[in-house]
């Protein structure tokens, strides 16, 4: 395998973006522009499926590794994947074309630039999940801020400027400490290569501070309570496609970072800080679920539910058990599908009525029957009904949590109940009830592209709900080896 498949995955969207940059957006070629973007992202999607096909599930070693000298004697451009990262790459390449299809209605001005931003974003997101060098990782991690800032700021809603600034500055503030930590790691060990760092290990006396520096970045990005406040703002103001990318993929970068870097590089520190993560996760689950219950804005409600779901993810990761981490990864994938779909669902009614308030709607089941069915699937998946992918993740996480800490698990389960409450209540208020607002009668049901995108998301949600085997098989070996290494290094330090 000499073909640099990962670099192609990373570069392809950018090449598409470059191509779009040179075709000036005029009214007549709007469709062409969209097809170019769609084509690029679809090629990338099939390439990533092919990657999954080639992927060797029986080993936990990094595969498809590319290692090139980048800055002489300092940094190598090193990419590679294992079972932990491959699913995120596929999620990214899967969500991006759907985003591009969905821009039909929501983005009216500067379509060309919007598609460029989305494609560039895809490059950075795939880069984050592939990189095996801390500096390369940081580069992709931070670079994603630029397109996202523009997506929120240019195409967003009324308070877009405030939200874009908040998003950018919050995440930047979190990340700069990570940069200090990365440079310190280089200074301590002489390398930023993740694979080598796994082997060498980092001296225990440095680990706590370094862990905190990485935590500051990932906690903002996850987002964990109490630094989650940028997320509702960003979600509410971002255009639908932006919200989808943000919820489905951007948040996963932090979860991925927790597994790959916080656990992988600083095992003893992770042991020390597990109670902190537990506390914050439980607060996030219960507190933000309660907040979600009180929201009047649909997008805000889903945004808060994202915070709660990510609370489960961090909880699962830091149980440091096979089921916990598997559950977290599946939960992230599932949340990627479901939250993307829910934002698209909100986008559908928003495009028609230009209102995100729950109170505007009610009783639309008779007017939009197809929409009601698909929305129901995702509502149930979001609250973790057995048979949807949401269940698998939550179940595994809670199982691991029960083994580790009974109280935490009970409290987290409480969050599941509140989660069911706010999602069902949302569904009831929007879809059922009496049709009071007569404006709603003018709404038309899902058009082809909307139905297509939502169905595309519904299929894996249900499929992996009934049969999560393909996902688990992919990640199993990597995670069990990962945990063995972790336990070994914790034990040896004691």
């Amino acid at each position: 395998m000499n073909f640099p498949i990962l670099s192609s995955l990373i570069l392809l969207p950018s090449i598409g973006a470059l191509f779009l940059f040179f075709t000036r957006s005029k009214s007549e070629n709007k469709i062409t522009v969209k097809y170019v973007a769609l084509f690029t992202s679809l090629v990338n999607f099939f390439l990533s499926i092919y990657l999954w096909f080639l992927f060797d599930q029986t080993t936990s070693a990094f595969q498809f590794v590319e290692d090139r000298v980048w800055i002489e004697g300092l940094i190598n451009y090193k990419v590679g994947i294992d079972g932990i990262s491959i699913l995120f790459i596929i999620l990214t390449t899967f969500i991006t074309p759907l985003c591009i299809i969905s821009v039909n209605n929501s983005v009216t001005k500067r379509l060309n630039e919007f598609l460029i931003a989305i494609l560039v974003m895809e490059t950075f997101m795939i880069g984050v999940f592939c990189s095996l060098d801390l500096v390369v990782f940081y580069l992709f991690f931070e670079a994603g801020l630029i397109p996202m800032f523009l997506i929120i700021g240019i195409w967003g809603g009324a308070r877009r400027v405030y939200s874009a600034f908040k998003f950018f500055l919050f995440t930047l503030l979190g990340s700069v400490l990570m940069l200090v930590a990365i440079i310190s790691i280089y200074w301590i060990t002489g390398t930023t290569d993740v694979v080598q760092l796994y082997e060498i290990g980092i001296d225990t006396k440095y680990q706590n501070l370094l862990w905190l520096a990485f935590f500051s970045s990932f906690a903002v990005k996850t987002p964990m309570w109490p630094v989650h406040t940028w997320l509702p703002d960003a979600h509410v103001e971002a255009p639908t496609a932006g919200s989808v990318l943000l919820a489905a993929i951007l948040l996963k970068m932090a979860g991925y970072g927790f597994i790959r870097f916080s656990l992988g590089l600083f095992p003893s520190a992770s042991e020390v800080f597990t109670p902190l993560i537990y506390t914050l996760s439980v607060i996030a689950i219960i507190f933000t679920s309660l907040i979600a219950l009180m929201q009047e804005d649909m997008k805000k409600l889903i945004a808060y539910s994202s915070v709660a779901h990510m609370g489960f993810v961090t909880l699962g990761i830091f149980t440091i058990q096979q089921q916990g981490i598997e559950g977290s990864i599946i939960q992230m994938i599932s949340h990627g599908l479901v939250s993307a779909a829910l934002f698209l669902c909100v986008g559908v009614v928003y495009d028609r009525m230009h209102s995100r308030l729950i109170a505007t709607y009610g009783g639309i089941v008779t007017i939009l029957p197809k929409y009601a069915i698909l929305f129901m699937v995702f509502t149930l998946a979001a609250l973790g009904l057995p048979g949807t992918s949401g269940f698998v993740g939550e179940f595994l996480i809670l199982m691991a949590a029960f083994k580790d800490n009974f109280l935490v698990a009970v409290l987290a389960s409480l969050g599941v109940i509140i989660g069911a409450a706010y999602m069902l209540w949302l569904y009831k208020r929007v879809i059922f009830g009496k049709l009071i607002n007569s404006e709603l009668k003018k709404m038309i049901d899902l058009n082809k592209s909307e139905a297509f995108t939502l169905t595309c998301l519904a299929i894996p949600t249900l499929y992996f709900g009934f049969y999560p085997e393909p996902l688990i098989n992919t990640i199993e070996v990597s995670i069990s080896d990962f945990i063995d290494t972790y336990n070994f290094s914790v034990a040896s330090k004691k």
Partner: protein, 472 residues
């Protein structure tokens, strides 16, 4: 005098200045031809410097009062090229203010000559001579648009404050001379007694003088006013070229004679650096004028360059030089944009004038976007790497406080760069600007943008070039 070829570039540029002056006096309407000849002179000087001195071993001339080594040659070439581009893109601006005169290129040439002498100096007297030569030319350049009140004010302000700082600097020189018996850097390094406090006083005074020249906080007060008042092309010159020379002197002065006193001056440099980074970032937030804003931003950038110098290591010096080089490229790009904001022969320089620029000028605004994100230090643009090298060398010396403050101030600084982007991209559009720009202006913007954008593909090249700088 067997090494005379090493200062050919200085000799060539001084002869050219005299020739151009005479040409300007005797030939009528010669401003255009003098402008072009000056461009050629700068280019030829750069080539001479490159050919004659870049690859030789460190050599001293004239009783060790002038040193030619890799650092000085590299900095001279950067100075010459930056001055070349400034001259290249300023002609349209000068014409529209009817100040396209013979004095302008000649003054730039003489200040460049002063800087070259500063860069090569290995002696306090030579250094002071070069400093004064460049400063006198800069005072006149600041007032060049003499019909405008602001320009005259800028020049006067610069002159008075700069004279004060020169005085402090001279006082420092005399203290050092008094306690070591020499003005030569090499002799000083062998003569002084580390316990002598007067030496420290001398260093402090000289540092104050130098900090003034590079507008490091707390000696920055002149910069916003002078930058705002001077003609834009001169402001461009101010933000880059004198700082290269002053920074080289900083390096030479601190690392050659006084490396043993690092405990004394390191604190001062760390203070200057932190104060500049933070103050530059915070004060820029409230600005409405782009030139004032870039003044504060340049204060903040100088803070980062000083952070590299404060480390006391070769890597630190190299990272500062890399930082300045990248900063110059970003600055050139930024000012090229500023010089393009022209409508009916009037130049606009308020931040609000950028409002909705992205609709009428998509290419201009995307370039400015890239430059601003790079100035803010967001990866994968060149500005990030500049900061990365600085912080790498800072953390290598375990100066965590400096690194963390520096990185936090990048977050503050990001705010005002984002504000410009917000105005360009999120706000309603205004009338469009003229589109018939000078070819050179377009070229300088394009080249700098592409360099910033693609730096991450070949980051090693600049490091290779700079890593030959070896002072310690």
């Amino acid at each position: 005098m067997n090494n005379i070829e090493l200062i050919f570039s200085e000799i060539f540029i001084s002869l050219s200045i005299m020739f151009l002056l005479i040409l300007g006096v005797f030939k009528k309407d010669s401003s255009k031809i003098i402008h072009n000849i000056s461009l050629l002179v700068l280019l030829i000087t750069a080539v001479i410097t490159f050919n004659e001195t870049l690859s030789i071993n460190p050599t001293t001339l004239f009783n060790e009062s002038i040193i030619i080594d890799y650092l000085s040659s590299f900095m001279k070439i950067i100075t010459l090229l930056a001055a070349f581009v400034v001259l290249l893109i300023s002609s349209n601006y000068l014409r529209s203010f009817k100040i396209f005169k013979i004095e302008y290129p000649i003054l730039i040439l003489s200040s460049v000559l002063g800087m070259m002498i500063m860069i090569s100096s290995n002696d306090l007297i030579v250094f002071y001579m070069g400093l004064e030569l460049q400063s006198l030319a800069l005072y006149v350049l600041a007032t060049f648009n003499r019909d405008q009140l602001k320009s005259s004010e800028a020049g006067l302000k610069y002159f008075v404050l700069s004279a004060l700082s020169s005085g402090l600097l001279l006082y420092g020189c005399s203290l050092i001379y008094g306690f070591t018996g020499s003005t030569n850097f090499n002799v000083i390094s062998t003569q002084f007694n580390t316990n002598e406090y007067a030496i420290t006083f001398g260093i402090v005074f000289i540092l104050v003088g130098l900090a003034f020249k590079i507008s490091a906080v707390p000696f920055h007060m002149w910069a916003p006013d002078v930058y705002e008042g001077s003609p834009t092309s001169v402001t461009l010159f101010f933000t880059m070229v004198p700082k290269i020379a002053a920074l080289t002197v900083f390096i030479r002065f601190l690392y050659v004679p006084f490396l043993n006193l690092i405990d004394q001056w390191q604190m001062i440099l760390v203070f200057l650096s932190i104060a500049s980074m933070l103050f530059g970032a915070i004060a820029a937030i409230g600005q409405k004028n782009l030139k004032r804003l870039i003044a504060y931003s340049s204060i903040s950038h100088i803070g980062y360059a000083l952070a590299g110098l404060a480390t006391g290591s070769n890597e630190g010096i190299q990272s500062s030089v890399i930082y300045m080089t990248i900063y110059i490229i970003m600055n050139l790009g930024f000012f090229s944009c500023l010089l393009m904001m022209k409508r009916n022969n009037i130049y606009y320089e308020q931040i609000d004038d950028l409002s909705g620029l992205s609709k009428n000028h998509p290419l201009l605004s995307i370039s400015l976007l890239i430059i601003l994100f790079s100035l803010a230090g967001i990866p994968p643009l060149a500005g990030f790497f500049a900061k990365f090298y600085i912080f790498k060398s800072v953390i290598e010396q375990s100066m965590y406080f400096l690194a963390i403050v520096g990185l936090l101030s990048t977050v503050v600084a990001a705010f005002y760069y984002l504000r410009i982007i917000k105005i360009m991209y999120f706000d309603e559009e205004k009338d469009s600007y003229d589109k018939d720009h000078n070819l050179w202006l377009k070229l300088s913007l394009t080249v700098s943008t592409i360099l910033i954008l693609t730096y991450f593909i070949f980051p090693s090249e600049l490091i290779d070039v700079v890593s030959k700088i070896n002072i310690i």
